[in-house]
Symmetry: C2
Subunit: 387 residues, 2 copies
C-alpha cells in the first residue's frame, strides 16, 4: 500500500488523483491533503479519504474547514507553514505536487527535503527553479516523476533507453482552440472561447496557457530540467488530435512515442503506481477509430509565447521564473477581461526585457525575481489599460 | 568490436547489414558469410570484408566462388552442412539470420546450439518452428533480437517495460500496393504490380507476401513466439505511411510506439549494436513533413491470407509450418505466372485444411509437415491450372 500526500487536492489533477485512489483502495492510502480556496470540496475529500493531516491557505479557511468536518480525526493546518508541514508529512511515500502556479514551489521543496518521491503535476516549480529543485532532489536521492501527459510520455519512452543515446525530445501540442485563427481573429478572442480547450479538461490558468502555447513553452523548460537535456535539443510539434503525447528521437533516428486517450488519470496513475501500472475502466485508444493523426510545425509568429519560453530557457538564470510570474499575472488579467488575448506575449516580453541576468540564482533570488516580475507585469497591465 | 556472421549475405537484409558494417569498421568485423545462388555478389563481399569462412549452396557454386575469389584466405564451404558449419562458426558473437524462407531454420538452430546471439531477419524460422526454436534458445541462454522493423519496434517499446503489464501487441501493416483495390481489381493484378511495394525495398518473396498481407500474418506468428504472447493478444492495424513501425498497449491503456523512416538498416543496426545504438547518415524522421498518418482496421475479406495466418497461429502445432510452406510454393507459382494473385489464399487454405493436428511437433515432424505441404501445394497448383 502506497501512502500519498496530495498538494492541491481540489484542482483538476487532485480530483483526478483521488479518483484513482478511490478506485484502487488496496493500492493507495491518502495521508495528507492540501487546498487553496475550495474548502467545501476539501471537507468532502476529508470525509471520504480520512487523511491524517489537511492544510488550507488561511486561518479563516481552516476555521471553516473545522466546522465542516466536525469531529473528524484529521489534524487541520493552515498558511504557508501549514501547507509545507503537510507536504513533509512523515507518513507519506509519495507527494503529488499539483498546486497551480509558482505557489507550489516551496511545498514541493519541503517534500523533497523530507525525502519524499515527487509526482510533479505543476510545471511552474521546475520552470521557476529547475536547477535548485533538481539539484536538491539529486542530493536527497529523491525521484521526480512527471504527471503532465507530455513528460509522462517522455519518461515512459526513455525508460529502458540509455541516456547517452538520446538525440532530442519532441513535445506535442494540440495547438489549442485558436490554432487556425489569423492574427486578426486572435485579437477578438474572448475568455469563454479561451476556456474551451478542444481535447483536455483542465483548470482555467492552464487552459489559457494552452491556447497561447505558453503551456508548451513552460513544458519545454520543465522537460529541460526533468530530463537534463539542453533547450536546443527540445522541439515542439503541433498535433491537433493529442493522441501522441510526446516523442523522443534516439541517435540512430529511431523515434519512440507514447500514445493514449486524453485523460489525465492515466499519467496520474502511472506516476502514483510507478514502477507498476494499474488497470482502469477508461476506454482503450483505438487508432483505427481515430483514423488520422496530423502533425505540423508550430507558428511562432502567431503564438509568440512559445518563442518567449524558448528564449527564457536559453537565457536561463531567473529569466524563466520572471517569464512564468509575468505570465501568471497576465493570464489573471485576461481572465478578468482587463487585457486581450494578444496582449499576453507583449506584457511577458516587456517584463522579460527588464529582467537582470542572474547566473545560478539562489531560491531567494528566484523568489525576488518572481515578486518583481509580478509587480512589473501589473504595472504593464495598468499602462496598457490607460494607453 | 563485435564479430558477425551473416546467413543470407546477398539478400536485401544481408546487403543492408554489410552496409552497416562497412560504415562502422571499428564496431563490427565479419567472420562468416553464406549465400544461396548469387555467387558474384558473395565473391565481391569476400574481397571487401575478408571473412574467415564463406558458404554457398552447392559444390558447383563453391567451385565458381573459389575461382572468383582467387587466392583469398577465406575458407569456402558448401551444402547444407557447410552453411550450418558457417552458422556455428566459433569466432562469431552474433549471427544475423537472413536466409529467405524455411531454408533458414536449420542454420539458425545450428547458430543457437553454438550459443550465438541471433539477429533474426527471416520470419519463417519462428513461424515454422517457433516453439522448438524459442525453447532451444532459452535452454542455451541465447538472445533472439528481431530485425524485422515491426518486431524491432515492439522489442524497443518493451525494453524497460514489465512483461506482466503488457496488454497487447499491435503490428502495423502498410497494406501493400493493392490495399485500395476491389475484389475484381485484385483478380487482375500482375507480378510486376505486386513487386512494386509502396514503402519498403525488399526481396521478391516478401514483397508479394506484403501485397497479400501474408507477410503480416507471418509476423503475427513470429511475434507470438518472440514475445511469448498469445495470438489472441496480437492485433494488426493498416497504416499506409509505415511511419509507426508497431505499437504495444500496456494494461493502463498507455500505448508505446516506435517510429522511423522506412529503411531496414536502422533495425539491422539496432540488432547488431544492441544494447547500443549507432548514429547513421540517414535522413531523420520529420513528422511535420509527413504531415498525416492514417490508421484503419485490416479487411480480412479481401485479404484472406491474414485470416489464414491467425487461424494457423490459433491451431498451432505444425499448422503454421504447413501454411508457410504452402505460401512459399504458391508465391513461387505466382511469380512464375502459373497462378493469379487471388489464388494464393485458396491454395494455402486447401493445404491447411488437410493438415493433421500435431501437438508439440518435433523438428522432424515440422520438416515432414513442411515437405508434405509443399507437395500438396504443388499438386493444388497443377489442379488449378488444369481446372
Amino acid at each position: 500500500m502506497k501512502k500519498i500526500t496530495i498538494l492541491g487536492a481540489t484542482g483538476s489533477i487532485g480530483i483526478g488523483a483521488l479518483d484513482v485512489v478511490a478506485k484502487n483502495p488496496k493500492k493507495f492510502k491518502v495521508v495528507a491533503l492540501t487546498a487553496g480556496g475550495n474548502i467545501k470540496e476539501l471537507a468532502r475529500q476529508i470525509a471520504l479519504f480520512k487523511p491524517s493531516v489537511a492544510a488550507c491557505a488561511t486561518k479563516q479557511a481552516a476555521g471553516e474547514l473545522k466546522r465542516l468536518t466536525g469531529n473528524s480525526r484529521t489534524r487541520i493546518l493552515y498558511g504557508a507553514s501549514g501547507i509545507e508541514e503537510a507536504a513533509a508529512s512523515p507518513r507519506a511515500d509519495i507527494v503529488l505536487s499539483a498546486i497551480s502556479g509558482a505557489a507550489g514551489l516551496k511545498p514541493t521543496l519541503a517534500a523533497i527535503e523530507a525525502g519524499k518521491t515527487i509526482a510533479l503535476a505543476h510545471k511552474e516549480t521546475l520552470v521557476a527553479a529547475g536547477q535548485i529543485v533538481t539539484r536538491r532532489a539529486k542530493k536527497k536521492k529523491v525521484m521526480i516523476l512527471p504527471v503532465d501527459s507530455e513528460h509522462s510520455a517522455i519518461f515512459q519512452c526513455l525508460s529502458g533507453q540509455k541516456k547517452n543515446l538520446l538525440k532530442r525530445l519532441i513535445l506535442t501540442a494540440s495547438g489549442g482552440p485558436f490554432y487556425n485563427l489569423t492574427q486578426a481573429g486572435l485579437k477578438k478572442v474572448t475568455v469563454a472561447q479561451a476556456l474551451r480547450h478542444p481535447r483536455w479538461k483542465m483548470g482555467k490558468k492552464i487552459t489559457v496557457d494552452s491556447a497561447s502555447l505558453m503551456n508548451k513553452g513552460l513544458e519545454v523548460i520543465e522537460a529541460r530540467w526533468l530530463f537534463d537535456v539542453d533547450i536546443s535539443r527540445i522541439d515542439v510539434l503541433i498535433h491537433p488530435q493529442s493522441v501522441v503525447h510526446s516523442l523522443v528521437e534516439m541517435i540512430d533516428g529511431s523515434v519512440l512515442a507514447q500514445l493514449g486517450i486524453a485523460d489525465m488519470r492515466i499519467a496520474i496513475a502511472y506516476a502514483l503506481a510507478y514502477p507498476q501500472r494499474i488497470q482502469n475502466d477508461l476506454p482503450a485508444l483505438d487508432l483505427s477509430k481515430e483514423g488520422r493523426l496530423d502533425f505540423y510545425p508550430p507558428d511562432l509568429r502567431r503564438f509568440p509565447c512559445l518563442e518567449l519560453a524558448f528564449e527564457a530557457g536559453r537565457r536561463g538564470g531567473a529569466v524563466p521564473a520572471v517569464m512564468n510570474a509575468a505570465n501568471e499575472i497576465a493570464v489573471g488579467a485576461f481572465l478578468e477581461e482587463k487585457i486581450r488575448f494578444v496582449d499576453l506575449p507583449d506584457i511577458i516580453a516587456r517584463v522579460m526585457s527588464r529582467c537582470p541576468a542572474v547566473k545560478n540564482p539562489s531560491l531567494a533570488d528566484v523568489l525576488a525575481a518572481d515578486g518583481e516580475a509580478r509587480r512589473q507585469a501589473n504595472q504593464a497591465i495598468e499602462q496598457m489599460k490607460r494607453g
